[in-house]
Subunit: 231 residues, 2 copies
């Protein structure tokens, strides 16, 4: 009678057809991406099983994936934490995005359908609303989704994957910096970019995105530089 007890075994306590480790991965990724986890904060398996109400195995696998993507960091002694980026690290990310984002924008401009342009415009308007309302969390998520949609349009899965990995790396630091400075003087070259895309002027669109990236990331770099000045 107890031999066939409800030991469970598998998934889908929710309604999705997705495996649990996939669901947990996405939840944890969003936690990192939108700054719900602070840089330097330890990430424990048991803490996440409690926080996300999940089993140990799915949480383990999600942590492994995020670690491989650079969103989390092995601390040597089997501990995992959210990485603390140095100013040099940010410089690397700036360099990479300075090349990746314009290139993807170039391709996106050539391929974007009218629906795509409408979707981007709508996202940007919601983004503006979040800024004026001072809703930091919404800003971070919408800004990500704006760029993410741009990547998707570009139809270059590998390059887009690289770019997304960079977002995972600077997400926590971005949150800290924005939280420190408020949502006022945030960069928004999106309008210029959208105008250029509508005109199918790929070069101008790429240039606008490049400025958007540099402006935003330089603020992060400078903030990081002043908060940990000496080595």
């Amino acid at each position: 009678m107890n031999k066939s007890a409800k030991i469970s075994g598998q998934q889908d306590s929710g309604r999705t057809g997705l495996p649990a480790h996939e669901v947990i991965y996405r939840q944890l990724r969003d936690l990192v991406l939108f700054g719900d986890l602070a840089p330097g904060q330890p990430v424990t398996i048991q803490g996440l099983t409690a926080r996300l109400d999940a089993g140990m195995t799915p949480v383990r696998e999600a942590i492994r994936r995020l670690t491989a993507e650079g969103a989390l960091e092995f601390q040597g002694n089997r501990r995992v934490c959210v990485p603390l980026l140095s100013a040099d690290n940010i410089s690397e990310i700036i360099l990479a995005r300075q090349w990746l984002d314009p290139h993807l924008t170039l391709r996106a401009t050539e391929r974007a359908s009218l629906e795509d342009l409408e979707r981007l415009t709508a996202l940007d308007e919601t983004l503006d609303a979040a800024i004026t309302k001072g809703d930091l969390r919404a800003y971070l998520e919408l800004n990500y989704r704006f760029h993410k949609h741009l990547y998707d349009i570009a139809d270059a899965p590998i390059l887009a994957n690289l770019a997304e990995g960079l977002w995972l790396r600077f997400g926590p630091s971005l949150r800290v910096v924005c939280g420190r400075m408020g949502t006022q003087n945030l960069p928004d070259k999106h309008k210029d970019m959208l105008d250029a895309m509508h005109a199918r002027d790929a070069e101008s669109a790429a240039r606008a995105i490049r400025e958007d990236v540099i402006q935003g990331m330089e603020q992060v770099r400078q903030s990081l530089e002043s908060s940990s000045p000496a080595h």
Copy 2:
């Protein structure tokens, strides 16, 4: 008497202090990197537990990590396989490496110690020996280690990580192409690059690496293009 049987529970049947999942990860990564796994080949968890003589959990985690890095691919229906790259995929990788590798070489030239240069020279000589001997596997491994060491010298962990991820993606395809063409007309601009590094001519070194990358990767792209000609 059997209750306390050798259920084991943990690691270190070898001698290393590394956790099993780390060891398995490296083994599986090398399998992908050096073409021991063919593109399209299914990767089963139970197959690997048998092949690598490991438990299920470490194998699972290794697969998750490699999947996150793009070395393996979820096939939707919970199956995992080695990715089959299209010519477009290779084009993306060429673009990225065309930017990444020269940049890293630039930095490496500025930072390389004499020991580093000696090590690179030694690696390249062993590489030449492998080519003349026609030892494909050794060529693949040494070529990787040559570039990897270059990345390490550059002292840019994030950019280096991106570059290594690209190697994982084209490793299996590279093996197929090289196996088809033999080890004769393989690119080797390493000599020019090393001369430039010795002279601390970073620009020339970067240019040499760029040609090396383009030559090698273009062969892969063209091979991919002819083997799957239609859209």
